[in-house]
């Protein structure tokens, strides 16, 4: 059976190649110090493929306002954050509500690698080899009742370890949500690692959501609560600026953000912008979830 869940096998960089990739990047970087032109030429890739974004960029260029609003803040400020021990509170319309130790919660669920495009609402993108579990397998284990129509996630609130939470930038803690059919879609995962390693703190350790056909801000980080609910949950950016950020937040080149055209994006490491794909290139797998919906209204 063909599993429709990620970038086709042909597009995936073999592990041994990506493990060697940092070495390659270092060499390229060293070359760039001496001569700029060849390195820029190597980056010019207008309609390019989905080569992996270097580990260093994935882990130093982050939007994670709990650790500060500059892109480099999370990598600078997340060092003292403690992702273990970690508990996740499961509540709402679910057969097995409880506070779970994270390791117990995920025990026995296969950790898979998924290479996904990540498209930020700010019109930049990356390709990241995540490690994680399918959210569906966790939901199956928790057994929500038929009243559960949505799932709500909450980020940890630890102002002592998260300097961004000491300022009134967003209403803390961060919350996000998915419709149940989105949550159980085979593409949706809870990531616990990237590049074959444990998830770095600045990328949302120890547990974060990845929904590759949606803008990055749906990918809530450092999850401490999962609630199964009947009504559509709030999501933080929608609360802050409802005209800019919707609940669905599906990647859609036809629906512009008031501050950014969403028609194109810059893949990190490339010079030219490239066209943004409907549902971030996952339309074949997910478009059916939204048949009959006005995606202009439900942005």
């Amino acid at each position: 059976m063909t599993r429709a869940y990620d970038i086709p096998a042909s597009e995936i960089t073999p592990e041994e190649v990506y493990l060697r990739r940092r070495e390659f990047i270092r060499m390229a970087g060293a070359a760039a110090v001496g001569v700029v032109a060849p390195s820029v030429a190597g980056r010019v890739n207008p309609q390019g493929d989905d080569t992996l974004t270097p580990y260093d960029n994935v882990t130093t260029y982050n939007n994670y306002y709990e650790f500060g609003t500059d892109k480099e803040d999370p990598s600078r400020n997340a060092g003292t954050f403690k992702p273990r021990p970690w508990t996740v509170e499961v509540s709402g319309h679910v057969a097995r509500p409880a506070r779970y130790d994270l390791d117990d919660l995920l025990r026995g669920i296969a950790v898979e690698e998924r290479v996904y495009r990540l498209r930020c609402v700010e019109a930049w993108s990356m390709v990241i080899p995540w490690m994680g579990v399918s959210l569906k397998s966790l939901i199956d284990r928790l057994r929500p009742t038929s009243r559960a129509k949505f799932i709500e996630f909450t980020t940890v609130l630890r102002p002592a370890e998260m300097p961004g939470q000491r300022r009134d930038i967003l209403p803390w803690p961060y919350i996000e949500g998915l419709r149940m059919d989105e949550a159980v879609h085979p593409l949706t995962i809870l990531a616990t690692g990237l590049y074959g390693k444990t998830l770095p703190n600045q990328n949302g350790a120890p547990l974060r959501l990845i929904v590759p056909w949606k803008y990055g801000f749906k990918g809530i980080k450092a999850i401490v609560r999962i609630r199964f609910v009947e009504q559509q949950p709030l999501n933080t950016w929608n609360v802050v600026a409802p005209n800019e950020y919707g609940f669905y937040a599906n990647v859609n080149p036809q629906v512009d953000h008031p501050r950014w055209s969403q028609a194109r994006e810059r893949r990190i490491g490339e010079f030219f912008r490239r066209p943004t794909l409907m549902f971030n290139g996952y339309a074949d797998q997910v478009a059916r979830l939204y048949t009959g919906m006005d995606l202009r209204q439900n942005y």
């Binding site: 930038i169 802050v240 008031p258």
Partner: protein, 245 residues
Amino acid sequence: MAFVSRFTLHDSRVVKPLLFVACLIPLAVLIADLLGGRLGAEPIREATFRTGEWGLRLLTATLAVTPLRRLFGWNGLVKYRRMLGLFTFSYIAIHFLIWFAVDQFFALKYILEDIAKRPYITVGFTGFLLMMPLAITSTAGWVRRLGKRWTRLHALIYVVALAGIIHFTWSQKADILRPSIYAGIIVVLLVVRLLPKGLLRRYRSEPGTSGSDATGRLRVRSTASSNESRASCSSRAGAWAAGNS
């Protein structure tokens, strides 16, 4: 020391080239960081941010010249205002060109759409356009030719400052701390300008408030100028000043 401060640091022939070089430092650092790969994961965005913020810093410095003269009597500063203004324009022009020629890569369709549809770009672009006549008429010839109209034209700098602050603020998703700091400084500078002139001149002429390196001759001159100003200010302020001396 006295020799240095009186004949060197107060000599605009020495200070001007120094200031010129100083204003080029942010650009030099930017180029060095670009060549050294130190602009992070999105170098174009970083270069756009840096040039934009340096433009705003220099604009703030330009706007500070008159308030500093009024507050502290540093009238010599006026000799550097044109250079500060032109560097402001240069950094904003580079900021614009990075967006236009590198980030958007001359894609006019998207550039025009952005200018028309994204409010922060509309405002920023308007501010940039408004700076052009100011840069063009900055020469001595234009100052002479325009006379009083030159001052009125160059009052546009306040509109430019407002546009810059709005552009910066609206470009931020949630955290507006940095644009707020610039807005605060510029508001203070404006308030200083709006204070009654007589009040400030009197404050300046208090003994000990003028520069400690000022010679007796300079002090005499400053007293003379403050007498002039008393004569010319409104009767109420004049009476107040006279009553206190």
